[in-house]
């Protein structure tokens, strides 16, 4: 659109995922086609319809930041975000002592902290009398027994606040929570803030863990989760005929996005350029995507137009690919509608087959995968794709990573409720 638009590049990346505690570990596992799914250990899920998830293993914030005890009462999402932010900052080489802190901002798509579920349940039970809730009893109990700090840390603004505090970023600070599209949308909006000139550097991305009792319960009630409890590592199988729902994952990813001239001035290493961002709403139904993929099509088309690219320029798509029956079919349809015959020539893979669905954090982790595909010339596979679904007939890079030079990649994220965000990232080509 705009004639003299500021360009935005990626100068730092980090992630903490079910596949590894940092960028390279996660990437190596993804290229190797490993699954991060196992039995839920965070709480006793043994009687729930779904007992499996992709958890981050052996996570301790102290392994990532000094003074981790300062963040002891934070939610897991915030701790994961801090770990990723610390590594991303190092990766970028950004020296905050030499930056104007008001020109460095944070825009995350981070989720909520964990509720003190047992206490909440106990308070409710105690207030229940003769089929009714004695509300004053509940009120008094809640004020007496819930922890103020824990209640505060549950708010979905806290990860962005703590990351800004940790980094010393005084610039624009925001957090969006559009379900599974959140961190892709956060990246897109952070890019727009940089383009408009509100900041020169933005830390963006997201963090989320819904592997908590009400998270698993809520998704189980919606029958959205896989119940393949006997074969956890086979449960997330995007585009496979026998897929039966998604697998919850958790984790965080942070990228350092920077205005090009600013990055050049400080001699930063540039990993990629963000070329386009497109968003849309299905405006259809709460639980299902529009059956024609209307919103997904629009978001991909908007991203292509924003990037000023012909559709044939796209050489890799990191699919939303959640492993739900309808979602994968509709995404396939939408890709075909946008790309026509070219759709069959684009490798499309879903890394959710390995790390599960990181919900709000999914977008950023998949965006980073796209940058690494461009960097290393290898495309991670869609694992567990054993029986092709006739309705899903694209090249999903089944089960084995593939070497391929990729200069431009598209990352799709489609959220529950119908928000769609697509980001196009490309090899940085100088001027």
């Amino acid at each position: 659109m705009a004639v003299h638009r500021r360009r935005v590049v990626v100068t730092g990346m980090a992630m903490v995922t079910p596949l590894g505690g940092n960028l390279e570990e996660t990437w190596a596992a993804a290229v190797a086609g490993r699954s991060g799914v196992g039995y839920i250990t965070r709480f006793d899920a043994s009687t729930l319809p779904t007992r499996i998830a992709a958890e981050v293993k052996n996570f301790s914030l102290a392994d990532y930041v000094a003074e981790a005890s300062r963040y002891e009462e934070c939610g897991l999402n915030t701790k994961l975000a801090l770990a990723a932010a610390s590594m991303a900052l190092d990766h970028s080489g950004l020296d905050m002592d030499r930056e104007d802190p008001y020109r460095v901002g944070v825009y995350l798509g981070a989720g909520e902290g964990h509720q003190d579920f047992e206490t909440f349940m106990r308070l409710l039970r105690r207030a229940y009398r003769d089929g009714l809730i004695d509300v004053p009893v509940f009120n008094a109990g809640a004020v007496a027994e819930l922890s103020a700090r824990n209640e505060l840390e549950q708010s979905p603004n806290m990860a962005a606040a703590h990351v800004a505090g940790f980094v010393g970023a005084y610039g624009p600070n925001s957090n969006c929570l559009t379900a599974c599209a959140a961190s892709n949308q956060a990246i897109g909006e952070a890019v727009e803030l940089l383009r408009m000139g509100y900041a020169d550097v933005m830390l963006s991305g997201g963090a989320h863990s819904m592997i908590h009792p009400l998270g698993v319960t809520g998704f189980n009630l919606l029958t959205a989760l896989s119940t393949r409890n006997d074969e956890p590592q086979k449960a997330s199988r995007p585009f496979d005929l026998h897929r039966d729902g998604f697998v919850l994952g958790e984790g965080a990813g942070i990228v350092v996005l920077e205005e090009l001239e600013h990055a050049k001035r400080r001699g930063a290493r540039i990993y990629a350029e963000v070329l386009g961002y497109g968003l849309s709403a299905d405006a259809f139904r709460l639980t299902d995507p529009h059956e024609d993929g209307r919103g997904a099509v629009q978001a991909m088309q908007h991203a292509l137009r924003d990037a000023g690219l012909d559709l044939s320029a796209i050489q890799y798509i990191n699919a939303h690919g959640t492993s739900t029956r309808e979602g994968d079919t509709v995404e396939t349809l939408a890709i075909k509608k946008v790309f026509g015959e070219h759709a069959y020539r684009i490798p499309v893979s879903s890394t959710k087959s390995m790390m599960g669905h990181l919900i709000a954090a999914a977008g950023v982790v998949e965006f980073i995968i796209c940058v690494l595909v461009i960097r290393d010339g290898v495309i991670p596979p869609t694992i567990n794709l054993e029986t092709p679904d006739p309705e899903c007939d694209l090249d999903y890079v089944p089960n084995q990573a593939r070497e391929a030079r990729v200069d431009i990649a598209l990352s799709n994220s489609f959220g529950f409720g119908g928000q769609n965000a697509c980001v196009i990232v490309g090899r940085y080509a100088g001027n």
Binding site: A2, H4, R5, S46, T47, P49, Y102, V106, M121, R122, R125, Y128, I133, V135, N139, A140, A142, V143, L146, E151, L152, S155, P156, N157, M158, A160, A161, H162, A164, Y170, P172, N173, S174, N175, C176, L177, T178, A179, E192, L193, M196, Y198, L214, T217, F219, L221, L222, T223, L279, S280, A281, A283, R285, L286, T287, Q298, G415, F416, G418, Q419
Partner: protein, 434 residues
């Protein structure tokens, strides 16, 4: 900053403790009426603060077609109020039945937060999850409790539901986002919508916020966080921003929506224009103790950025539409920021703190106050605070009180921030063509 499209406000919608139609709300504001009272939706006994700006007598069914009523069952209070505010705003803008609206170029950005489950929907599940010794058991939860919950339970409470439902009800297929930044959420959402139109990704955006604190768990949480007013005996006098006797936040609830529109789009269809949304700025200095003692510099930075974005001079500002939440600490921080930004003029500039009328509706507070401010700008009159008597000398701000005042200049500055130091500001000015 590059030249971009101008954005105007063409519709206002509000669901507030002072009513649901802008005309009635404006009269109540002018009269300095407070919508704060003892909580009536549930028995607030056992809570230190038992008062709030509560929305009473609201019926969301009036704002949807008979065909759409089924959807109301999966909406909680925050969302029910949001769809009403959006409906009122769209009707006000003349867009409710506007056949030429390009729905792919119309979207929604709302401020909202995690919504608390109605206790009735969880209580039986909670009881079932305890064994005969009264011990909670996750095993029992999985075996018995889960069957006691409604299938769509989770969807009712996700923060993106206000924006999603609005998009579904009005088939708005453009950009859709939900900003979860507590009290800073609404101006961040409205600022983002402004930039979405400026950059050409949409022509029309519904932007605002929705939140209800009228819920036992939400009220308990607010009380736990501290700095709440316990003036339970005189609710309508409880919320006194910048007053010598300010003594804490009063809870609230509500929703408000603005229809933002690209200038040329509004002119082409002959829309009534309330004002121009001219500038947005945001900043954050994370506070160490998270208790409203935030750094004034964050607020100054957000306001300065918004003024620069609007290319507005300080002397063009006719009044301040502050956060003004009546926490002693927050009011003093905000006053310090205004003094730093405006210098000597700060103590003469009219300040209109609408929380004295509405209470603090969390993520919605900024949108409610912005709509009130737009009505003031439109009517060229500043409504008096509902409870102000004498200034806190440490704030030294000129709060409009006693009766309405004439507005002398055609622009105002809106500021909101939260207790952890996240801040956002907007500049609004009377629309002038050319």
């Amino acid at each position: 900053m590059s030249e971009h499209r101008r954005v105007v406000v063409t519709g206002l919608g509000i669901v507030s403790p002072l009513g649901f139609e802008t005309a009635g709300v404006w009269e109540a504001l002018r009269a300095g009426r407070s919508g704060i009272a003892r909580i009536s939706a549930f028995d607030p006994g056992g809570l230190p603060s038992q008062i709030a700006g509560e929305v009473c007598g609201y019926d969301a069914r009036k704002f949807v077609s008979p065909k759409q009523r089924k959807a109301l069952k999966v909406m909680c209070r925050d969302t029910l109020m949001a769809i009403g505010a959006a409906n009122i705003a769209l009707r006000d803008a003349g867009l409710l039945d506007y056949p030429r609206l390009d729905r792919e170029r119309a979207g929604v950005v709302f401020g909202a937060t995690m919504m608390s489950s109605e206790l009735e929907e969880l209580v039986e599940a909670a009881v079932e999850a305890h064994d005969e010794h009264g011990q909670f058991s996750m095993k029992l939860w999985g075996e018995r409790s889960i069957q006691r919950m409604p299938p769509l339970w989770m969807l009712k409470y996700l923060p993106n539901m206000p924006a999603c439902h609005i998009s579904i009800l009005y088939d708005l297929q453009g950009p859709n986002n939900t900003i979860t930044m507590e009290e800073a959420a609404s101006p961040l959402a409205i600022g983002e919508a402004l930039n979405i139109i400026r950059r050409g990704d949409a022509d029309v955006m519904i932007a605002g916020g929705a939140e209800s604190n009228i819920h036992p768990l939400r009220m308990a949480r607010l009380c736990l966080l501290g700095d709440v007013s316990v003036r339970n005996d005189v609710p309508e006098q409880a919320c006194r921003p910048f007053d010598r006797e300010h003594n804490g936040v009063v809870a609230g609830e509500g929703a408000a929506a603005l229809v933002l529109e690209a200038e040329e789009h509004a002119l082409a269809r002959g829309a009534r224009i309330y004002a121009e949304l001219a500038g947005f700025g945001a900043a954050c200095i994370t506070s160490a103790d998270m208790s409203w003692r935030v750094a004034p510099a964050a607020l100054v930075a957000a306001m300065r950025a918004a003024l620069e974005d609007a290319r507005a001079n300080l002397d063009s500002i006719g009044f301040i539409n502050p956060h003004g939440c009546a926490s002693v600490a927050a009011d003093r921080v905000e006053a310090a920021a205004l003094h730093e930004l405006f210098g000597a003029a700060a103590s003469r500039l009219p300040v209109v703190p609408f929380k004295s009328h509405f209470g603090s509706a969390g993520t919605a507070c900024g949108a409610l106050e912005l709509v009130a401010g737009l009505l003031a700008l439109h009517n060229r009159e500043l409504p008096p605070s509902a409870a102000f008597r004498e200034p806190d000398p440490e704030c030294n701000l000129r709060v409009v009180h006693g009766g309405p005042e004439r507005l002398e200049r055609g622009a105002f500055l809106k500021l909101n921030f939260n207790r952890v130091g996240q801040a956002a500001a907007l500049v609004v000015r009377s629309y002038e063509q050319g």
